[in-house]
Symmetry: C2
Subunit: 311 residues, 2 copies
């Protein structure tokens, strides 16, 4: 039997990369041969975490069918966020904490999704359920994922379970979560020298909503104005993506990680639907969303509902 490949979503973030590493390790420990791989470039925050905990980035791939017939998805389940040739292989497991959509199997599989803030929180449970000890460096990576997804426990996606998991992982990893976390987030928010095109590709996901394709990019920043200064270029890059990827909407969410709110730049044919969804009026294609920091919890559900109502 070929080795199963374990990977997270395109435009990988810290949770996706570390979940692939951590889950692949667990599977190997229980006698099931796997390899962690990734579908895109490592971002600055993840690079910082990997370096801190002496871990290699998983191997970069763009297709899977040439080397395996079985894959395990972590941190995502929606087909359009996954590897392009997903249809040609069998998904044998999914470990995720997102909404479930555009996912279908012909056979029963292991599918474990929980409404927690981070895949790492579920993985910690799985390590315990299998009685496998978490190596110190993997605990550090998993802690990094929780800090990243929860913006140091400040995001509304952060649950009690995530906080508890982070405390456990902090002990195993031997770091101070608050101190280490702030440094890691800052490393990720250092976007100097990035082009507008790079900025909107770093953490971008496509969602199907009421039959339309909607792309939502999120950029975390310590000083959002640095990003907003590039608005004109961002809009142009978004327009290109809209045409090339046939998007009904492209929303760029610039999140102020210190003040916990987001500026949103929206382009596409369905801008008015976004205004209705967020109950705002866009001025020059942009608006401030007070208290909004989570794409998963505060952006995707309201937009999905608005698109479904219209459909």
């Amino acid at each position: 039997m070929t080795k199963a490949l374990v990977f997270g979503h395109k435009s990988p973030d810290t949770d996706t990369i570390t979940a692939a590493i951590a889950y692949s390790h667990l599977k190997n420990e229980i006698g099931f041969e796997t390899e962690a791989v990734r579908l895109g470039e490592i971002n600055g925050e993840t690079a910082y975490a990997l370096e801190q905990f002496n871990a290699e980035a998983p191997r970069l791939i763009d297709k899977v069918a040439g080397e395996t017939d079985r894959v395990i998805l972590v941190d995502h389940n929606e087909r359009q966020q996954s590897v392009d040739d997903l249809d040609e292989v069998k998904v044998i497991e999914v470990i995720d904490h997102h909404r479930i959509a555009n996912f279908e199997t012909s056979d029963p599989i292991y599918f474990r999704a929980e409404p927690v803030g981070c895949t790492a929180t579920i993985l910690l449970k799985l390590y315990k359920e299998h009685g496998v000890e978490i190596p110190k460096n993997i605990a550090g990576l998993m802690l990094s994922a929780i800090i990243s997804d929860s913006l140091l426990f400040k995001s509304p996606t952060c649950t009690e379970e995530d906080v508890k998991a982070a405390k456990e992982l902090e002990k195993i990893a031997g770091v101070n979560a608050e101190e280490y976390g702030l440094e890691m987030l800052k490393a990720g928010a250092d976007l100097s020298g990035k082009t507008a095109e790079e900025l909107i590709s770093l953490d971008a996901k496509v969602f199907e909503m009421g039959g339309h394709h909607v792309k939502i990019a999120q950029v975390n920043a310590v000083d959002p104005q640095d990003i907003l200064n590039l608005q004109e270029e961002i809009e142009k890059a978004a327009e290109t993506a809209i045409e090339e990827e046939k998007l009904a909407l492209f929303a760029v969410v610039v999140t102020d990680i210190l003040n916990s709110n987001s500026a949103i730049i929206v382009k596409g044919s369905h801008v008015s639907l976004a205004e209705k969804a967020f109950k705002v009026t866009f001025i020059n294609h942009t608006a401030l969303l007070e208290g909004v920091v989570s794409r998963k919890k505060q952006i995707v559900p309201v937009l999905t509902e608005a698109f479904n109502e219209e459909a």
Copy 2:
């Protein structure tokens, strides 16, 4: 907050009914108010199990939105197998052991599917994870579910985990699984007096395959010939269903529970696709499928593949 309703699929079988009872009890024990309900009539086998373990049948419903805004699905996830007004409420959890299809949420939820033979096997894990003791009568119901879904551990869907779970539940329930199980299966296989229409509705599920609707009814029998004697009436009833429900295919699987094989009666516009899928030639709309006893594992995947290839 309104009470969440917990239910399994339409045409309920023993696993669906007992999973609703067992999971609702667990949720209530951990402080989350729920009620087990059902979407159809109790079959003979389930009635036997409920009586043996002094349990009430869950309340019969046909709609949910009038009384709650939140539901928990057990033993199914496909929309067309669920309550008709599912779109009007929020699915907050799914506990299942089937393929995943036609299921979508706008928010992250708790979704626990495992490739085991029975929902009860997953529920036993959940009781342990929450540290809740299983009452004797609920253990008996869960054991009944495993016996039913695994045809007394003989179905290819039956995993080591199911056998292990059954052994644990057997002790708690205080019965002999083999003896009790055979009596229960026989009670379920007593189909005397049933009309053809009733026979094909007892345990029928609709699946979406390559854009088509395919209905597969399964009838367990100790003496399959009793059922096959009604072939003409069964075909007529199937034709009516095909027209009314716009089905591409209606397969009636008559399973010989003692000899572990099935006769299949197939009607509809896509009969030749079924011949290709099962590598058989139908004579008078029927064929014997040697060693086939599981709809989930031996019928749905091959038919799905054939329909997808054609699509």
